[in-house]
Symmetry: C2
Subunit: 225 residues, 2 copies
C-alpha cells in the first residue's frame, strides 16, 4: 500500500525535486502551497504546473498574509537585494520570520486530517545556510513538536519531515532532478521578476540557480526559452 | 522599560484573562487573532472588543483557512456535538488539527519582527485535557522549536510562551479575571451560536463556561443581558 505525504510546493526547483524524490520512494503526494504575501502570482502558477506535472492526489493553496507584520524584503516594501555576496555569513533581508515553521505547521494539520505521518520540505542547509529554518536542528525540533502537538502523536504516532535536499549542493539537486526527468522549465525561482515573469538574474535565488545549472553542466530551460 | 509580548486573542474569556494577567506583569501587548475558517464572525467581533478594552498596541487579524482540510466540527460541515459528557477522555470532534501549532507559529513570526521574545496563549490543560496542543509538553516543545527556528534564536535569544491559565480551573480563571476588573460581557465562547449571536448553552464551551461561573459564584454577563 502507498503511504500519503504532504509536500510543501513553492513553484521553485528545490521543492519540485524534493517532491519527486519522495514520490519515487512510493509515497502518494498531497501538495500544499502557501501564499504568504508574495509580491508575485508567478510562484503560484509555477506551483500549480509542478503539482500537475507530478500528478499529486490533491493540491491545496492556502493564504497566510505574513506581510501584515513586515520584516522581510520578500513580503514588505523594501527592495530585494541584488548582486549580494552570497557567501556572506549574514541572514539576508529576504528571510521571512518563522516562514518554514508556519508552513510546516499548516502541513501538519493537513497530514493529521489525512492520517499521513510524512511531511516533505525542500530545505537546503548548504546553499541557504543563512536561513535558520533550513537547518537540520530546526527539522528535528519540528518533528519533536509534531509528536506532542497532535492527537495522532498522543496516540503514539510519530511524524517524519523528509528533507532529501538538506545536504545537497544546488548542482547535485539539479543533476538529480534531471535524472528523474523533471521539467525545470515549469519552475520559478526569482525573488524579483519582471512584470512578464522573466527572472532578474541578480537576486540570490537567480544567482544560486545559475551557478547550480552551470556546475551541473546543464542549460536552464527558463533562460533558454 | 516595557517588554513586548504577542498574545493570541480568540474573543473567548480564557485568552482575555491570560492577556490581562501578562499585561499586569508589565508587558506591552500586541494582539493576534486568526480567522481559521470559523463559521461565525462573532468571535472576531469579540476579539476586537477585547483588544480595545485591553488597550493593546496593535491588533492584527490574519486569515488561515484550515477548513480547506476539514477534519473538525469547528471548521467542517459536521455538527458541533451537544450535551456531550465533558469528562470523557476522548478528543472531541471540535479539535482542529495542529491549530495551536499554526497560531503560535504565526505569533512567533510577528514576535521576531517586533523584537519580542514573549508569546501568550490562554491554553488550559485542566478543563480541556482532550486537546493535545493545550498541554505543558506541547508548550515546552514549541519553545525549543522557536529557539532554533528564528534568526533571533540563532543569535542566542530564547522565547517564552506564557500560559498563565494552564493549570487553573475555569472557576479560578473567572475569579482572577473579575478581580482584574475584566468585562466578560465582551467575550464569546459558544462553538455554535444562534444567528443573532446568542450562545447555544449545550456545546462543551458553553457547558464549561456555565460550570465555571457557577463555581465562581458569579453571573455570566453574556447570559444576563
Amino acid at each position: 500500500m502507498a503511504f500519503d505525504a504532504v509536500v510543501l510546493l513553492s513553484g521553485g526547483l528545490d521543492s519540485y525535486t524534493a517532491a519527486a524524490m519522495v514520490q519515487r520512494q512510493g509515497f502518494t503526494l498531497h501538495a500544499l502551497s502557501v501564499r504568504y504575501g508574495q509580491r508575485h502570482a508567478i510562484e503560484m502558477a509555477a506551483a500549480r504546473a509542478v503539482a500537475q506535472s507530478l500528478g499529486v492526489a490533491r493540491h491545496v493553496e492556502i493564504d497566510v498574509d505574513l506581510s501584515a507584520f513586515g520584516g522581510s524584503s520578500l513580503t514588505g516594501d523594501t527592495p530585494v537585494p541584488k548582486d549580494r555576496d552570497i557567501d556572506r555569513a549574514e541572514i539576508p533581508s529576504t528571510y521571512v520570520p518563522a516562514r518554514n515553521t508556519v508552513f510546516l505547521s499548516i502541513a501538519l494539520g493537513w497530514a493529521e486530517v489525512l492520517g499521513a505521518r510524512d511531511l516533505v520540505i525542500g530545505v537546503n542547509a548548504r546553499d541557504y545556510s543563512g536561513y535558520p529554518d533550513c537547518r537540520p536542528e530546526f527539522i528535528e525540533a519540528f518533528e519533536r513538536l509534531a509528536s506532542v502537538a497532535t492527537a495522532a502523536g498522543v496516540n503514539g504516532a510519530s511524524f517524519t519531515v523528509h528533507t532529501p535536499l538538506i545536504q545537497m549542493t544546488k548542482a547535485e539537486i539539479i543533476t538529480t532532478g534531471l535524472s528523474l526527468g523533471l521539467d525545470y522549465g515549469l519552475t520559478h525561482s526569482c525573488y524579483d521578476p519582471a512584470p512578464d515573469g522573466r527572472p532578474c538574474r541578480r537576486c540570490d535565488s537567480c544567482v544560486l540557480r545559475a551557478l547550480g545549472f552551470a556546475e551541473a553542466g546543464a542549460i536552464d530551460p527558463v533562460l533558454a526559452s
